[in-house]
Symmetry: C2
């Protein structure tokens, strides 16, 4: 069967192959966090012509189903068909958010006098071709030439040796040898070729971001992102650890995340006329559990007292060990972790913030599914885990989505008509709401009195935008012929829980180390929110502390930025290791005091309004 | 279906499973060089009771088939059956030949003041168990303890780390860490356990021998041997290289030899109540092609001018790379090779002969399928390839067999009645004839006048033992109710070709380096012949040069002996590397002079009888 898609492209499907599989075969990657089981409901497409059979999943409202909307994973064409594949159902290649941020980072890096120094170093070698009088083995010949070039002790892996005979002859004995510290040879290419590109990944509990980088000049070529398909086994690290300890679970979790990375990598490469042979090194960062799962290491003891991971500093392993579809020898650098609940993502985040180089004290907040907070300066760094849950990344929110094109990223309500004015990423038609949009929406709903201090819709406002949905009351943010975008009371409750956990974490950590907000010079906010996070509104809902606004800096996805820096620089990898080595961890979540702080922070902005003086003044003025 | 075998053991087979498969499943390994395709005819068994269906293969004479003889690989029971599995159809575990030779070698080794020093060194470590206040990662904890024990720079492989968390806890933090030079950690065990055993293998083109060794004291525990199943793809290295370059061929060849080794290893371990967890290191030796095939390295360029192998000195790789069923991290040491046609088997052989330590000049002859000859002393070593073909190992000879229990290893003929008197290995009932028996047989047939100088049966002798067989005239060596053992004219022709190649090789190598036999003080003969090789008779047929008999030393399988020495001693591994480093290779087979020498040596003993003065005298006396 043939599937014609809007671009005019024709996909040839096998009999009985579902549309998700056919798309993947043709390099069109749909979001399918559940692995194609009809559970996550993310691979929605619309069939505009042709016959098909589809399984009913309860994920498609009746009126949508009537207009041909189906889940690609549950649908098999019965004739040639035409289909529309909406943007939100596709893996995002060409992320519009991180490109400028990382370009700024590279500019700062280069202007500080540093040079690009990737993981793999290259040495060009001219070997004498063998003759009947000089027919020593290929390896001895290579070692001899390397010896003259000053590399007497190079180690060689099996994978390199097993391909060597063919490469040397194809190269007519003129080669580029790529090696890593050891020194160990990892890539052998004809002298006419050099790989030249690298990948930096941030493996979040909810979101995976992948950067494709030119390692010649450090320039970011492109960014892709998708949901972490491990979501099908649970939203948080704990449920995933539990799944990993069940039979076959660890392999399933590893396969899910590695498949996501491969599904991001292949279209990114194709888009830029590159192949996996162009990849010479990879950096990954993730929290400690994500890092263990990526490498297929059992995370069981992360969860059991006294909470010890298998490793925090990882050897340089080749991509084939994880199952990445780069050359099997391509070295993968793992950004070091600190402890079971302080991972490489936070180390990478601190690295990109540069707070570890400043003499003044900063506060760093990574607001992600497995968020962490860090206080410190160039002498000390103290950290605590502080999970916001997946909601700011769009997961568990009715029309939530990651901060990619089409997401509502900011929002204001007319105080009289309650009509919203929206701004979307890329100025596109809205298709969902991302973290920064959620914060704006709750603030506006709160300030206009549509929700109360507990986040419940008030009954006495006269607007059709508040309506009863399937999950209870909801606010209609946007509507057009193809979709409604709402924020439900359940969504709001989820978001309040997230912001309360964050505020409680900051508050308790500072108390534990005997500091006050006054002594903090700078507050870095990281997370996948949108182009910018509205600091004012984040303070109004009580997520961020009520301190002078100029102290705040919004970093976006700081983990991918740090991962990128590690990809392009030896120096940055050393700094990351120093950060991981000196960071100390404080346990918050086990303490009774944390629960007290958390419950107080569940209100808008907080039960103790004296902690939010400017918000108190604002509310008083409104009243 | 159940199969009852002579020992009374019951094997449970699945429906449609052939008897070869059922036997293997129960740890009873039959010889099946063709991989169970009904081609090699080696897995003969006799079904004494029960119903079965069997495919006709032309490998079983009609009268044998009538008495229930079948190929196990072609036979499926239709009811419960009883079967006799003759010794010659089974892989040999408990080789009677090599045990005493290797015990002598160990005695010499120890009496020279050397100590047993295997590849893997062990360090006992007591780790502090983690607590909530000291919960650094397992790897950091291990590294810290290693640092205090003086091992700051230990490297860790993925396989070790992926099992580490479980082992440390099972061991209650009290461990034995096995490491190799680097240093690199390779085996982690609870302190109550130590692997303790090693394997030394000689991978011959025709025969594979495997030693199981106690690495505590170096004692040989047992020896097993079998045919190299690669035989199904060709008898010699050239046809195997050709096969390796065909699609999928390399993987098939690697799988064949690794399966053979696993099939030898498992019953050896079981017999001595050991498991694969007891194996801590492995040494293999083989000619350069066998070594490449074992490691799955493409041998293509070994065969193409200018004949360059991929490697001659191999890194220490783990057993999982080859597919051996030892622990995946168990290091495998490869005895170094010299050149494309001078392999690790000859290096191991020289090592076991000790000629490389003597100031006088010796000649070393390894008479195997891919035989080699070496001349030299403690200052220089010159070698040349000199293939005898597989016949002395029983392959390609009608009733040929390896030198294992039941093989006719020596033979004399009554000069008047032509009745043979036989001696078999283990003094068992004869089941075939091995290399030393073949040499004896030809000498006796020649001296009694039953064959002429060209190896053809003479017509004028009156004995029923010369008869017409399916392949032409043959001599009946032995007969009982279950079998005849014959030597055919075709067999004799094969053996004459082998001995001519060897003699021509020695003769031409000495001429090339400008030496004569007089300057050789000692001649070492290696090969899988039998308990001893009759030197006198080997000279009479013209395989060995006619020099004073006291110069000869018969070493048996010298390659497995050298492989064994490398398994038990760092010092011996260094010596092997020195031997490989200083040996120089002379090409003989490409020269026109070799063909001349070879053709002259095809006669009994030689066309130029002046080269064999004592044989000439003997023949004159007889006449």
């Amino acid at each position: 069967m043939q599937i014609r898609i809007a671009s005019g492209k024709i996909l040839n499907g096998r009999e009985d192959e579902n549309i998700l599989q056919t798309c993947k075969k043709h390099g069109l990657y749909l979001v399918a966090s559940c692995g194609g089981k009809g559970i996550c409901g993310k691979c929605r497409i619309r069939i505009v012509q042709g016959e098909y059979r589809t399984a009913s999943t309860g994920k498609i409202p009746a009126e949508d189903a009537a207009s041909g909307v189906v889940l690609a994973c549950q649908t098999v064409p019965k004739s040639d068909i035409s289909a529309e594949i909406p943007k939100e159902s596709q893996i995002v290649v060409g992320d519009v958010l991180e490109l400028p941020r990382i370009n700024d980072l590279l500019e700062t890096f280069l202007s500080s006098g540093r040079t690009v120094s990737p993981l793999v170093k290259w040495v060009p070698l001219e070997l004498f071709p063998p003759t009947i009088d000089d027919n020593i083995s290929d390896l001895e010949r290579l070692k001899k030439t390397l010896g003259s070039a000053g590399f007497a002790d190079m180690r060689f892996s099996y994978a390199l040796l097993s391909a060597m005979a063919a490469v040397l002859r194809e190269a007519q004995w003129s080669i580029n040898l790529g090696y890593v510290d050891g020194p160990e040879a990892v890539i052998l290419l004809p002298s006419s070729e050099k790989a030249g590109c690298g990948l930096a990944a941030d493996i979040g509990t909810t979101t995976i971001v992948l950067c494709l980088v030119n390692l010649g000049d450090g320039a970011l070529i492109d960014v892709g992102s998708t949901y972490n398909s491990q979501i099908r086994y649970g939203d948080d690290v704990i449920t995933r650890i539990v799944h990993a300890t069940e039979s076959g679970g660890l392999a399933e979790l590893q396969d899910a995340v590695v498949t996501d990375l491969n599904d991001l990598m292949l279209p990114l490469l194709e888009k830029h006329n590159l192949t996996e042979k162009n990849i010479e090194s990879i950096v990954i960062s993730g929290n400690t559990t994500m890092t263990h799962l990526f490498w297929g290491l059992n995370p069981r003891f992360i969860r059991e007292e006294p909470y010890t991971p298998t490793a925090t500093f990882f050897p340089l392993w080749e991509s084939a060990i994880a199952g990445l579809k780069a050359g099997e020898q391509v070295p993968v650098y793992t950004v070091p972790c600190v402890a079971s609940y302080v991972g490489g993502d936070i180390v990478a985040g601190i690295l990109s913030s540069n707070m570890h180089q400043q003499s003044t004290v900063s506060l760093f907040m990574d607001i992600g599914t497995n968020g962490e907070i860090v206080v410190g300066n160039n002498e000390w760094l103290v950290t605590a885990a502080c999970s916001a849950g997946p909601c700011f990344e769009g997961s568990g929110i009715r029309h939530g989505m990651r901060a990619t094109e089409g997401a509502v990223e900011s929002l204001a309500l007319d105080p009289h008509t309650f009509e919203p004015s929206l701004k979307t990423i890329g100025n596109s038609t809205p298709i969902g709401i991302c973290g920064s949009g959620m914060i704006d929406a709750i603030t506006e709903l709160f300030l206009t009195g549509l929700i109360d201090q507990r986040g419940k819709f008030t009954k006495d406002r006269d607007t059709k935008r508040i309506r009863d949905g399937v999950e209870g009351p909801e606010f209609l943010i946007y509507s057009d012929k193809s979709r409604d975008i709402v924020l439900t009371e359940v969504d709001i409750e989820n978001i309040l829980r997230a912001k309360a956990a964050i505020y409680a974490g900051v508050s308790l950590l500072l108390k534990k180390i005997g500091m006050t907000l006054d002594s903090i010079e700078r507050i870095y906010i990281a997370g996948g929110f949108g182009n910018y996070l509205n600091i004012e509104k984040s303070i109004i809902i009580g997520m961020l502390p009520d301190v002078p606004r100029e102290k705040f800096r919004f970093l976006g996805n700081a983990a991918i930025a740090g991962s990128y820096l590690c990809l392009i620089s030896d120096h940055m990898r050393r700094e990351a290791e120093e950060i991981a080595g000196k960071m100390t961890n404080v346990e918050l979540s086990v303490s009774r005091r944390f629960m007290d702080e958390y419950l107080s922070a569940l209100f808008l902005p907080h039960t103790d309004i004296s902690l939010f003086p400017t918000v108190g003044k604002l509310l008083k003025n409104r009243a």
